[in-house]
Symmetry: C2
């Protein structure tokens, strides 16, 4: 694919730009201690995240109207607590809500802000995430992510990997799919984007799932660009330092 057509870089966010696992575990640990729930904080983060895809699938398959991720995260949080024998109804609403917003308070990987800052000089940069607008905006404001706009599932009214998530985003930008590149650490996200005509950029995030990660350790197709992090992506795309 001719990369000189690309005008917008659209980023998967959880895992690609921010480190969700350590961020969630950081906020989960004191919550579990306070409420006497016996569980490992990283294991809790993994269990919470594991419910993410099935919850969105209800929407993608049309069994449920579009529902923002904050709502799905909250339902999933209560499910994880119940699995651990804790009754969410006995925990104050404000504490559940605060923990649910841990997804708004994730930290970027060390290369994310310098990399995005370089990429922004040449391209439109925006998240194309399943996160809702408030989540992505609060995350960006806290972390200093220099997005040009907040796009993604809530704007496109469709969750990835539904083709509409990508195509509606291109259409909103007034760009053809080939002028858009999805940047992601996940081969299946890139495959779905390529299928509708997007350019593709793979970024390796070898510890997204912790030190024993077994998935997404290599580029599984000939993606248009492959990079070890977002600074390398800026190098590959010829963005000045």
């Amino acid at each position: 694919m001719a990369l000189d057509q690309v005008q917008a870089l659209l980023f998967d966010t959880f895992g690609t730009v921010v480190d969700w696992r350590n961020g969630i575990a950081r906020d989960v640990a004191p919550f579990l201690a306070k409420h006497g729930v016996k569980a490992d904080a990283h294991g809790f983060a993994d269990a919470w995240r594991k419910r993410y895809r099935p919850a969105m699938k209800e929407v993608i398959d049309g069994r449920r109207p579009f529902t923002r991720l904050d709502v799905l995260h909250r339902e999933n949080l209560e499910g994880v607590l119940r699995d651990l024998g804790a009754d969410p109804a006995r925990i104050p609403e404000a504490e559940l809500d605060h923990l649910n917003r841990a997804w708004h308070r994730l930290d970027p990987w060390p290369d994310s802000i310098p990399g995005l800052t370089r990429l922004k000089k040449k391209y439109i940069i925006a998240p194309l995430s399943n996160g809702n607008i408030a989540l992505l905006l609060n995350m960006a404001k806290r972390a200093g992510l220099p997005w040009d706009a907040i796009l993604g599932a809530e704007v496109a009214r469709a969750y990835k990997r539904d083709p509409k998530a990508y195509l509606n985003t291109a259409e909103i930008l007034g760009l053809p799919p080939e002028a858009c590149m999805l940047v992601a650490a996940h081969n299946d996200d890139l495959a779905a984007a390529r299928k509708v005509g997007f350019a593709t950029g793979f970024v390796l995030r070898a510890t997204e799932h912790g030190p024993a990660q077994t998935t997404n350790l290599t580029a599984e197709e000939d993606w248009d660009v492959v990079a070890g992090n977002l600074m390398e992506l800026a190098d590959r795309l010829g963005c000045p330092a």
Copy 2:
């Protein structure tokens, strides 16, 4: 209204943040010369803008499904050309499209960027404009407007002064209306925002409609903040220089 509740400043854009009349006239002038259309460029800009409210009213009143502003601008441009005896069908598509995107290339007022930069330190800042996402994004990218997100009619799926334009925006941000302030140079926009519980900030733009402007020269209600420009607004809201 208690201003210490305000977390997000939402800005009317055309007229309040950018100078649409001089920007449009600048791009209209060479177009008219090239196509031999005899008309004053500022008069053309006024005529184009005059069709803006009636076009949106079709959507607000439910006679037409939500249609993005780029499309309405294009229809209105062709209408103005026909009124001047020019046949848009005889002008190359690329030239009409380029002129239509003059709305993406408007310049900010001199205080807009330094003012927004200060306000951003304390508040979420975003446009709450009738402009579509691509228009507002391209404008921000070209001019350097430091928005935290691109919001407005296309995200809220409603045009101002429809109450839904304001209420849906607050809901998307996860904020109650009283945590949102509309900042605008137009008393009727502020009145609609106040009606649904928003805080209100009036900014004087005495030459939006040119040197002979007769409207919006004063705050017509006791808006929560009144300022001569966005630097003064930053002063009034206690944002550090």
